[in-house]
């Protein structure tokens, strides 16, 4: 099984999620993260003191899918998340050795 990690713009989350459920994806896990990259951050000023903030708010989506689905899922995500502007983010794909569904004890593809 593959783990697909997506780091992208927060306001794209709903759109991506909808695309994915369209593909039959049943689950994913999302967290708020701060990204550092080519996209410029912003300046903050408090009582005349300037601070350069390099981190930009991003969301991270993690979803584990069957090997066969990965390609399609990645394509869907890319399509939904792309704006063409710097800061669209990345997709990281890695291998998962095992998955267990806590409720039933199922493992492997059945557990996803």
């Amino acid at each position: 099984m593959k783990k697909i990690e997506v780091i992208t713009r927060p306001y794209k989350l709903d759109e991506i999620k909808e695309k994915l459920t369209g593909l039959g994806i049943k689950g994913m896990t999302v967290s708020e993260v701060k990204g550092f990259g080519r996209q410029r951050g912003h300046t903050e000023v408090y009582r005349g003191a300037e601070y350069q903030v390099d981190f930009v708010p991003k969301v991270k989506m993690e979803l584990v899918v069957e090997d066969g689905l990965a390609g399609e899922v990645i394509k869907a995500i890319q399509a939904a998340a792309q704006t063409g502007e710097v800061g669209d983010g990345k997709i990281f794909v890695s291998t998962i050795d095992e998955v267990i569904r806590i409720r039933t004890g199922e493992t492997g593809n059945a557990a996803i």
């Binding site: 306001y11 709903d14 912003h42 300046t43 903050e44 000023v45 408090y46």
Partner: protein, 404 residues
């Protein structure tokens, strides 16, 4: 001059002043995190700019000698002649006390409008707009109703600002959002309040300050003040209750935001009537206002205008209802200087109230449209889409609200 009345009016002025930071919280809690500071700023900075303008020229335009029933003259410009002794016609308190009490009303009225164009207005344009709006919309309105202008002469009843404060801000809000257009993502993304405890606290502070607003408008610590205090409280109470009952029935759950919104709706509705009606009609007005304004906020989804924090639905509609209901329930038994309404045998009063409603809506709506156009041309009125997505806090003020 009466020390007790002076104490009462000064403390009332302080209470009304607190409403503006309270309103800032009420609104601030409802926007998204990235706009919290911008929203707090919109209300609070008016304590600065409007107060100074008021002292320089606004007060005189509103309460200076009448010029054709339309506007005040410049007699009181720079607070010239506004001193520790009483004003002609309000002889129980220092003129300065009257002026500063009125100042607080002038501050909060444009602050009310800011809920409509929240999350997308450009700060420089906002500053310019509110300054102009004060001078060409608020000051005339205040003059018409309280400064001896034509509405006063016509006999329109507006105890503490149903027309001057709430309808004027509601009508201006509608013009503003029509001009400005919808927020990016409107109807697609969910615009969910980011910090409702702030909103609930803000509503509590508003309710508290409103006693200064309405009871203080008696300008004396007397039975009328007590009566206005009571009607204010009961209308707010009834509306808080009726709003949640209506939404319970409509959507299946009573909400805390509904409770707070209802309370404000009730306070708005009773404002023009506070010193003219007895307690039971006040409860009735509150009950109606809660349900009516709940319907009012639904209008925007229907007509697809983006009145972000429901200024039209609550202040516009609530103020209008209150003004008309004053024409129904007013009675001289409460206030000799008032008038009787329809239910006390005087149908004409309802007509007078109706005229004042129409005039207020038309005047404020048109003027605001014009001002938005002028400001837009001069400095721009809406932030870029990029800035809107980043949020007003970072893009307009280089700050962020929370680092928890």
């Amino acid at each position: 001059m009466n020390a007790a009345d002076t104490a009462f009016v000064l403390i009332s002025a302080a209470l009304v002043m607190l409403m503006t930071p309270g309103l800032a919280l009420f609104y601030g809690g409802m926007v998204r995190t990235k706009n919290i500071l911008g929203t707090l700023m919109h209300s609070n900075i008016l304590l600065g700019t409007v107060s100074v303008l008021w002292a320089i020229v606004g007060y005189s335009l509103a309460f200076g000698g009448d010029v054709g029933g339309i506007i005040g003259n410049f007699d009181f410009a720079f607070l010239n002649g506004v001193g520790q002794t009483a004003k002609e016609g309000v002889d129980n308190i220092p003129h300065l006390a009257f002026m500063i009490f009125q100042c607080m009303f002038a501050v909060i009225t444009p602050a009310l409008i800011t809920g409509a164009f929240a999350e997308r207005i450009k700060f420089s344009g906002f500053l310019l707009f509110t300054a102009l709006w004060l001078l060409v919309v608020y000051c005339p309105m205040a003059h018409w109703v309280w400064g001896g202008g034509w509405m006063a002469k016509m006999g329109a009843l507006d105890f503490a600002g149903g027309a001057v404060v709430h309808m004027s801000s509601g009508a201006s809000a509608l013009a503003a959002v029509l001009y400005l257009g919808r927020r990016h993502g409107f109807g697609k993304q969910s615009f969910i309040p980011h910090n409702l405890p702030l909103t609930i606290l803000g509503a509590g502070i508003l309710w508290f300050g409103w006693f200064g607003f309405n009871a203080g408008s008696a300008l004396a610590a007397n039975g009328l003040a007590a009566s206005a205090f009571v009607t204010t409280h009961l209308a707010a109470a009834a509306a808080a209750f009726s709003w949640i009952i209506v939404e319970w029935w409509h959507r299946g759950k009573p909400t805390t935001l509904g409770m707070a919104s209802g309370a404000v709706a009730g306070l708005v509705a009773i404002t023009p009537a506070a010193g003219y009606v007895t307690p039971m009609p006040a409860i009735l007005m509150g009950l109606v206002a809660g349900g009516l304004c709940y319907g009012g906020v639904l209008l925007k989804s229907f007509f697809k205008y983006d009145d972000a924090l429901d200024v039209v639905g609550i202040h516009g509609l609530g103020g209008t209802f209150g003004a008309l209901a004053t024409g129904l329930f007013a009675t001289k038994a409460v206030n000799e200087l008032g008038a009787d309404g329809l239910f006390y045998g005087n149908p004409e009063q309802l007509w007078i109230q109706f005229v004042s409603v129409v005039a207020t809506w038309v005047f404020c709506f048109v003027m605001t449209l014009i001002l938005f156009k002028i400001v837009d041309v001069m400095v721009g009125i809406r932030v870029s889409q990029d800035d809107e997505i980043k949020g007003l806090d970072v893009s307009q003020h280089s700050e962020v609200g929370y680092q928890l």
